[in-house]
Symmetry: C2
Subunit: 341 residues, 2 copies
DNA sequence: AAAATTATTCAAAGCGCTTTGGAAACAACA
DNA sequence: TGTTGTTTCCAAAGCGCTTTGAATAATTTT
């Protein structure tokens, strides 16, 4: 059943039926009710393809798989994606995925998506400090939102968490507990969030008059192996230079740290203080660590849901200022932190 | 630049230009070359929306997030999805995602996708033995392919791995090494793959004249905690009834088993033999276990790539028999298995 | 009661592609 | 010469929706 048939049934024009169904004000409530009833009765569903052609809008949002894949990255991306898909389907939007493959560069993926005009907007995740994608998309005329922030001359819409504030709070807590040798195991420095976190970390220690030892700051993949090897290295330092506290960019890293400590007979929350950032995945994480982990935490699924709302809002009101939000991050104190002893 | 403008430029009809670009035979090679050159020159890209409307095909494949989410499940799904997206984009297809949310049942998600006619076919993953989706989709007239198999009266296309053969090989290896008390930690029994695996497992032991002890077979979530608790329980049995070998449905489960063994001072590959199924994720897995794990392995990313090919083939030749493939599974023997003793 | 508003409804023109049913041009055959 | 085939190309009719510009009906104003 299509629009023409339905309007013929009703003895109305396509215009009126279309407007009645789409909530335009210039159709009487009586007619609207009649149209709705008939549409329900016949199970009428407007053709997405026809609407796309007529409106020029695809009702579709695009995401692209991150170029470098790893376990945690995939988990985070999937959790984020799941949130996006959930909210998008509530808003009657589709989500389509792109991916670089083989010789095709990531840029080509974005170009392809834009050229084919298959999406109304794209959502960028894991932005680098110097990320080429905003400039590219703006040049191509494709609206976008960033999950995170980036260093960019041009304006852009974004949703980010307060990474700096989070790591400021974590480092400050440790400093207030008397720790002066605090190590930071950060994510890859090319990512904007990692820079933000390091800034917050440094600011807190400096505020407490603690000189930041560059040797205690490292960055790398946010996986168990990184935490293990880096912690091992630092724990081998002479006792008076060995860190008494660690701040980790992910729970995976914290697991590695814990293993390194265990190997030295050091107990988390007893001999060594540990804080990690916890991107809530499947509503579980830091609290099921042993001991329960003091953590800065934030739901990446919620971020996905919210960024889709912002994105759709942006598409509906193109002339409005670009949406931007920065979410505060909770520092939840659990059993992995204690005063320095 | 649209088709009309391009054909005006060329002094040809839209028909001819369209056919030239789409490789129809009734246009001379000379004209085709001219058209191609002009299209390239002007950067002409056909509008996906218009094509969709005209052909009734959306050029889109649909997948739905599994209803129950967990870490391994997400990782597997993402790996599979990544493969799908990769091949789909090579074939100029899009992949869109659906997801049940809140009150909306999984069935509603499929209905919605079909009603809106936004996808040409759907790919079903993690089929249950009694899965309602094939009947639903057939009734709705939506083509689909299953990654896995199911117990269904109606025919369906599928790509599956030989789960039965894999677990047959694993159990047979253990039997041949002299193990007679072999435990199986299977996935949820509602899933078809779990039933297949158990069948293979039993068949091998029976073939070797070993009575299968039902107490040694359990099933549950394919996560570390399951392996840990189940193995712990079995390792507490009196020595003459305690299993000497374990077959696990995932590496996660194997990790749990290893921890349970370690707690009892039992070494994998020494005191206890261990085999797990390894869905290759990120090209790593069983070989980085300690000790390297004897495993049945199969690439889930490859499966994603292939199922998209089959799906697209099915759409292109709707009257051809439904495609189906069963992939053999390699049993790779590493250090976690040894003769009983 | 006529004129001016306002509230409803409609006919028709796209959106940009595919595809049907010829037609024109040309060569090959009788 | 007339007929039959081939090749190559085209005009025009959709696909099913949105939206513009007008027309009609109902209401209010003068």
């Amino acid at each position: 059943m299509n629009l023409r048939e339905l309007s013929a049934q009703l003895g109305l024009s396509q215009t009126t039926v279309s407007r009645a169904l789409n909530g335009f004000p210039e159709v009487s409530e009586e007619t609207r009710a009649r149209v709705r009833a008939a549409a329900d009765l016949h199970g009428y569903r407007p053709s997405a393809a026809a609407r796309r052609l007529a409106t020029g809008q695809s009702g579709t949002l695009g995401l692209v798989f991150p170029g470098e894949r790893n376990m945690l990255g995939d988990l985070l991306f999937t959790e984020f994606l799941g949130g996006c898909v959930e909210r998008a389907s509530q808003l009657n939007y589709d989500v389509t995925l792109g991916m670089a493959h083989g010789s095709q560069s990531e840029e080509a993926v974005y170009r392809r998506a834009v050229r084919n005009a298959r999406v109304d907007a794209m959502i960028l995740s894991s932005p680098l400090i110097a990320d080429p994608r905003p400039a590219l998309l703006r040049q191509l005329g494709m609206p976008f939102m960033i999950h995170g922030r980036t260093q960019s001359a041009e304006p852009y819409g974004f949703l980010d968490i307060d990474n700096e504030g989070a790591f400021f709070a974590a480092a400050k807590l440790l400093a207030d507990l008397g720790h002066s040798r605090v190590a930071l195991f950060n994510g890859e420095t090319a990512f904007n969030f990692a820079a933000d976190r390091e800034r917050g970390f440094r600011r807190a220690l400096e505020m407490r008059g603690i000189a930041v030892d560059p040797g205690l700051i490292s960055s790398g993949a946010m996986i168990e192996a990184s935490g293990l090897s880096q912690a091992k290295r630092l724990l081998e330092l002479p006792k008076d230079r060995r860190p008494t506290a660690f701040v980790c960019s992910s729970i995976g890293v914290a697991i590695g740290v814990k293993r390194a400590c265990a190997a030295q007979g050091l107990g988390i929350g007893k001999d060594i203080a540990l804080i990690a950032h916890d991107d809530r995945i499947h509503d579980m994480g830091a609290e099921s660590f042993d001991p329960p982990l003091t953590a800065t935490q934030s739901s990446i699924g919620d971020a996905g849901r919210r960024i889709v709302e912002l994105c759709v809002g942006m598409l509906r009101e193109p002339q409005a200022p670009l949406p931007s939000e920065v979410w505060p991050v909770d520092l939840v104190v659990r059993g992995s932190t204690m005063p320095v002893g």
